[in-house]
């Protein structure tokens, strides 16, 4: 059955069993794939990193930090110095985890010569020179400026802890639950269970992480050629409902789909216009059609269900009349606007087309322009006044930092406000959690009211498993339990 997931109740009765081979399928990246944990970029890379390495901290389903290699952590009053207590863990080469390994990992991530370490900008707050190991199991991390978000930052992309003896990416030395047997970019990855894992180790003997397109993932699962498929389509979910051999494990509303309006350009420099557009969207319809009903409607803010999300802001509803009057006031009723999209992500073109139809109800003409998918994320910043936008799962502060600050590299909605930047900096350095939550909430409210994000929906995150598989948790991508294979077993 669909959606039911593998809640502990469903398969909790049977005790986990050891043994077997587990084949997991992901969208491949060809030669682009890597097992350098700090250069990871694709979901398939992250799944492999997760198998071979651990982080100090990881994120739970609500994007809140949970301890991994770091047992606990504490900050000084102004959040400029953090102390992480390490747990006893063994690397694959049999050596113990030490503070030096952690500092080495940070140093590797922040190596200015490495162009593809994406955590570099996030972790640039760390002052490596002043950070040091204390004793056998404590690391003191000094920051260049206050940040209350350090633990969450350490749970993001490209932050795995490697051994200080790690030099050749082809010979990974990690603490993960699996040990590498072979890897070929774009083709195959084979790892075996690491019996001395600190968390008790995995159940399956061998893990294979393979690349396959969406179609092939579905066919292979149904044909019994794989046990796990990551990121399945809604159509597959519908087909799977009738098929006893596969089961969908869905995390409700995990990522985000949006149409962005560039607030620094005509006519969206007028907040009335952006508001009118937000009022025009028929979100239920968009979710029903574009996401095939497998998702929840959005409220023009990122991070529904995550830590710091302001649940109290009422859901925006469609109001064509109000939108029309706003548009008339702004004088953009009979303009033709173009929306720049591409098929880089499923649903982009569909959502753009459908929204264009909906906007037509208010007498707006929107032209959909489809661009090159490979360079879309670069082109979208410069082309068109509107665009398609999606976001994977990340913490709300990360989202704000990466997408909505003046300095953000990928500020898709052209949202650049000095006061917003300042308020964000203040929230980030606020150590009191309640206060911080309030401050983030205010920032989100501003975006909701005036920003250029028409975040209409949050698709469910659909993974599929063969009916032989147990122990797969519902989890948004980029969280600890997503694509995590040390807790799965086969019956």
């Amino acid at each position: 059955g669909t959606g039911a997931g593998s809640s502990p109740a469903a398969d909790g009765k049977a005790a986990p069993r050891r043994g077997g081979q587990f084949r997991a399928l992901f969208t491949g990246g060809g030669e682009q794939e890597t097992i350098d944990p700090h250069a990871e970029a694709l979901a398939i890379d992250m799944a492999r990193t997760k198998a071979l390495f651990d982080r100090l901290v990881d994120l739970d389903a609500g994007m809140a930090p949970v301890p991994r290699l770091a047992q606990k952590w504490e900050a000084n009053a102004d959040a400029t110095l953090w102390r992480f207590t390490l747990r006893e863990a063994l690397f694959h080469d049999g050596k113990k985890l030490t503070p030096e390994d952690v500092l080495f990992s940070f140093g590797r991530i922040l190596d200015p010569k490495a162009t593809n370490h994406f955590a570099q900008s996030l972790l640039s707050v760390i002052d490596l020179k002043k950070s040091r190991g204390v004793g056998k199991n404590t690391v003191e991390v000094a920051l260049k400026r206050p940040s209350a978000e350090l633990p969450a930052l350490l749970g993001t992309l490209g932050t795995a802890i490697v051994s200080a003896r790690y030099s050749d990416p082809a010979k990974p030395v990690g603490t993960g639950a699996f040990r590498l047997k072979s890897f070929q970019a774009g083709r195959s990855f084979v790892a075996e269970r690491f019996d001395d894992h600190w968390d008790g180790g995995a159940y399956v003997d061998e893990l294979r992480i393979l690349s396959a397109d969406a179609d092939a993932r579905g066919n292979a699962l149904r044909g019994g050629e794989a046990e796990y498929g990551y990121e399945m389509t809604p159509t597959f979910a519908r087909t799977a409902a009738a098929d006893k051999s596969v089961r969908i494990v869905a995390a409700k509303g995990s990522t985000a789909h949006a149409i962005v309006m560039k607030c620094d350009q005509e006519p969206f420099d007028n907040p009335d216009v952006t508001l009118a557009f937000k009022l025009l969207a028929d979100r239920e319809k968009l979710v029903e059609v574009v996401l095939a009903g497998q998702g929840v409607v959005g409220n023009d803010m990122f991070g529904k269900g995550y830590q710091y999300y302001p649940e109290d802001i009422p859901q925006r509803k469609r109001d064509v009349a109000e939108a029309r009057s706003l548009l008339r006031k702004a004088g953009v009723l009979n303009k033709t606007l173009s929306i720049y999209t591409s098929s880089v992500a499923t649903g982009f073109v569909e959502a753009a087309t459908l929204f264009a139809e909906q906007a037509a109800d208010a007498g707006l003409r929107i032209k959909v322009t489809t661009g090159s998918s490979e360079t879309y994320f670069k082109d979208q910043l410069t082309k068109g006044v509107m665009g398609s936008h999606r976001s994977g799962a990340m913490t709300i502060p990360t989202y704000l930092n990466d997408r909505l600050l003046t300095k953000s590299a990928f500020n898709a909605s052209g949202w650049r406000r000095k006061d917003f930047d300042a308020a964000f900096a203040k929230a980030q350095s606020t150590t009191d959690e309640g206060e911080r939550t309030r401050l983030y909430g205010d920032l989100q409210r501003t975006v909701h009211d005036e920003g250029g994000l028409l975040m209409w929906g949050h698709p469910d995150w659909l993974n599929a498993v063969s009916s032989r598989v147990r122990g797969v948790e519902e989890a948004p991508p980029n969280t600890l339990d997503s694509a995590r294979f040390d807790k799965v077993w086969l019956v």
Binding site: R23, L25, G30, E31, Q32, A41, T115, N116, F118, Q120, S121, L157, Q184, A185, G186, R187, S188, R208, L210, A212, D213, D215, A216, R217, N219, A220, R222, G223, G224, E225, A226, S372, S373, E374, T375, F377, K378, D379, D402, A409, F410, A412
Partner: protein, 315 residues
């Protein structure tokens, strides 16, 4: 004939050289470069620029091309802009699988097509001919992608008789699991058999009416000898020429099959490299595919010339 073959080979070398220039120009027409494509939305412009420098894409196009060309002359196909490894590795991996697929397909296609063509050509207008012709005609009209979809849905997913994909399969596993080959080869072969057998049939029909066949029959040459020695060599010529022509279609059909069955072959690698703007890989793959096509058509021409020496191979 040897002189002709050498001349063609020399011409082929020139063609390939020009082709690489063309491929380079084509790929440089594409929007963005490998640095743009390799970075996702989280990369800063500085990172992209740094990557571009690291990949040495900031040099002028001419310099990049001559560098690459010099490498090729010394047997070095260059390094992939994406993996950083030698293009040769990518090529060896993907070409192995495609080669197996293509070879098996040919082994299936050629005898079957020739047989069908002969049988229906011999009975032109008869019931057998009409049924064979109708079937090949209809099958020929089903697009590869539709055929592949239907076969997978029916034989693999519904009935579970055959594997639906090649997920996780390497070239070495193929020999152990011939079942893997059935559907992909079936899809590629179906249309080739149709095209070829129709050509062979047409050749048979024409040759059977030729004066020299009539004369051989008048001189009492028995049916079997007539067919094998007098008719077939002449009748095979259009078929072989068609085979040379479908070589390219073969690669096209293979792409569909590779996509549907998740086969990591040359076609997939090529499309992926284009998408990633991995120019050295695109050029290396295009070079090899084109060279294979050239050799294939040269071989076909030589065989035709051997069968019927009068065939005008050169102008």
């Amino acid at each position: 004939m040897r002189g002709y073959a050498l001349q063609r080979l020399a011409l082929g070398a020139v063609q390939l050289a020009l082709l690489t220039v063309l491929v380079f120009l084509l790929t440089s027409l594409l929007p963005g470069d490998a640095a743009d494509v390799r970075n996702n939305e989280d990369a800063t412009p500085e990172q992209v620029a740094a990557l571009r420098e690291q990949l040495r894409l900031d040099r002028p196009a001419l310099e990049r091309f001559t560098d690459w060309a010099q490498g090729v002359l010394t047997g070095d196909l260059g390094t992939s802009l994406v993996s950083g490894g030698p293009v040769l590795d990518i090529l060896a991996e993907s070409a192995g699988i495609t080669l197996v697929l293509a070879a098996v397909t040919l082994v299936v296609v050629v005898p079957l097509a020739v047989l069908l063509g002969i049988v229906s050509g011999l009975r032109e207008g008869g019931r057998l001919d009409r049924s064979v012709t109708s079937v090949t005609l209809a099958l020929n009209a089903v697009p590869d992608f539709v055929l592949a979809l239907l076969l997978v849905a029916g034989l693999s997913l519904q009935l579970g008789w055959l594997p639906a994909t090649w997920v996780g399969v390497g070239a070495a596993d193929l020999l152990g699991q011939p079942a893997l080959l059935v559907l992909p080869v079936g899809v590629v072969a179906a249309r080739m058999i149709c095209l070829l057998s129709r050509q062979v049939r047409a050749g048979m029909v024409t040759v059977l009416k030729a004066e020299y066949v009539t004369q051989a029959r008048r001189l009492g040459v028995p049916r079997r000898t007539l067919l094998l020695r007098h008719v077939l060599p002449n009748a095979a010529v259009p078929g072989i020429q068609e085979l040379a022509r479908v070589g390219d279609n073969l690669v096209g059909g293979v792409l569909i099959v590779e996509a549907v069955f998740a086969i990591p072959g040359v076609a997939t690698a090529l499309v992926r490299a284009v998408e990633a703007r991995d120019v050295p890989t695109v050029q290396g793959l295009a070079l090899v595919v084109a060279a294979a096509a050239l050799l294939f058509s040269l071989a076909a021409d030589l065989v035709c010339h051997r069968l019927v020496p009068r065939t005008e191979v050169l102008r």
